[in-house]
């Protein structure tokens, strides 16, 4: 993004990474994208009992330009997909996406022509959160996991090495089902 990307790898970059990570995770402003029933649980998470404000997240951004995190809460219809992508594109880097609920993650029980089978067809997703709808604790848990991810994000040369490593790891992933042929 800025000067921190140009730093040579070493102690200085590691220190800057930690400071930047801490700053980024401490106040993530969500551009809430409430689409269905998950949005109700999302609102409950913002209420006094669950209290998103404990992580400086109470400001649900009405404008995508001042948001870092998109919480896609609910099933994404084909017609809504371009809108979602546009909102995502309008957000400034760095930005993260939580796919809240099974409908956003994979289409869930709505396996039909009207619903996008997972918002990762449209935007890159950082945290998948199952549940139908997930209770507010589950959302808070996913936010904690996202904080962990943000905090451990590398910068510059380290980031490029991290991407290499993650890509290599994904290529090594084995399928979960052994294919023995049609008739076994």
């Amino acid at each position: 993004m800025g000067i921190e990307e140009q730093l040579p790898s070493g102690v200085l970059l590691t220190t800057v990474e930690k400071i930047v990570g801490y700053a980024r995770k401490s106040s993530v402003w969500p551009a809430t994208f409430g689409l269905a029933c998950c949005a109700i649980e999302l609102m409950a998470a913002g209420g006094p009992k669950y209290d998103l404000a404990q992580w400086g997240m109470e400001r649900a951004s009405a404008t995508p330009r001042q948001a870092d995190l998109m919480i896609v809460a609910g099933r994404l219809s084909q017609k809504m997909a371009p809108v979602l992508r546009q909102i995502y594109d309008q957000m400034v880097e760095p930005k993260w996406v939580i796919s809240m609920g099974v409908c956003a993650s994979s289409g869930g029980m709505f396996n039909n022509y009207a619903i996008v089978q997972g918002v990762d067809h449209v935007v890159p997703v950082d945290i998948y959160l199952p549940g139908c709808p997930p209770r507010p604790e589950m959302l808070l848990d996913s936010i904690v996991k996202l904080h962990d991810k943000i905090y451990n994000t590398k910068l510059g040369a380290h980031r490029r090495a991290q991407i290499e490593e993650i890509e290599a790891q994904r290529m090594r992933t084995l399928p979960l089902i052994d294919d023995h042929g049609a008739l076994r």
Binding site: P48, K49, Y50, D51, Q54, V102, S105, S106, G107, G108, M109, N111, G118, D120, D126, I127, Y128, L129, P130, G131, C132, P134, R135, E137, M138, L140, D141, S142, V144, K145, K149, R170, T173, L176, I177
Partner: protein
């Protein structure tokens, strides 16, 4: 007449709230238990001797409205026995990106092999690790249980096994904790 006092009354409400008990649950530090019958993630149970209860009938997969469950049954042999009876579930996968935790699979299960726990912290950052395989879903071995494959310890025949497995024995309780 005392309308000018209204803003002061408003501040009074604010002041009063400072002495009220705080409603907030500090979630990651304090975890309140769920309701006892909360639908969390699934668990594949075992008989008191450690054999799996799942017989690979795929009724859970048929009942699932979201097609989240994938089961492959396979025959038990005398040398390699994973469950009492003829068959066992060799491949058992639940896709938590599809599962809506409705519990219809639990209602469909004829052996109560599949039940739900109260565990709900499932979020992850990739799709692969949200497909839970049989090893992840199986209940841990409790005291007196032995990892299959092994012979039926609770009876010679299946009828005998089911009857004795369903009553309290010296070997203790099954993984569901009901008997």
């Amino acid at each position: 007449m005392f309308d000018w006092l209204n803003p002061v009354k408003g501040f009074g409400v604010t002041f009063h709230t400072m002495f009220k008990k705080v409603d907030t649950v500090k979630y990651p530090e304090v975890k309140r238990p769920t309701m006892p019958r909360f639908h969390g993630r699934h668990q594949l149970n075992r008989w008191p001797d450690g054999l799996e209860k799942c017989i690979g009938c795929e009724l859970c997969a048929w009942a699932c409205p979201a097609d989240a469950i994938y089961v492959e049954g396979f025959d038990n042999t005398e040398d390699e026995r994973f469950s009492p009876g003829e068959r066992y579930g060799r491949v058992y996968q639940i896709n938590y990106l599809r599962c809506i935790l409705c519990g219809l699979c639990i209602e469909a299960c004829p052996t109560r092999a599949l039940t739900m726990t109260n565990e709900y912290e499932l979020a992850d950052d990739n799709r692969e690790s949200l497909i839970w395989t049989k090893e992840q879903l199986l209940a841990p071995l409790a005291e007196g249980m032995e990892a299959p494959p092994h012979a039926m310890r609770l009876g010679e025949t299946e009828q005998d096994y089911y009857r004795r497995g369903a009553t309290p024995t010296a070997t203790g309780r099954d993984s569901e904790g009901t008997r």
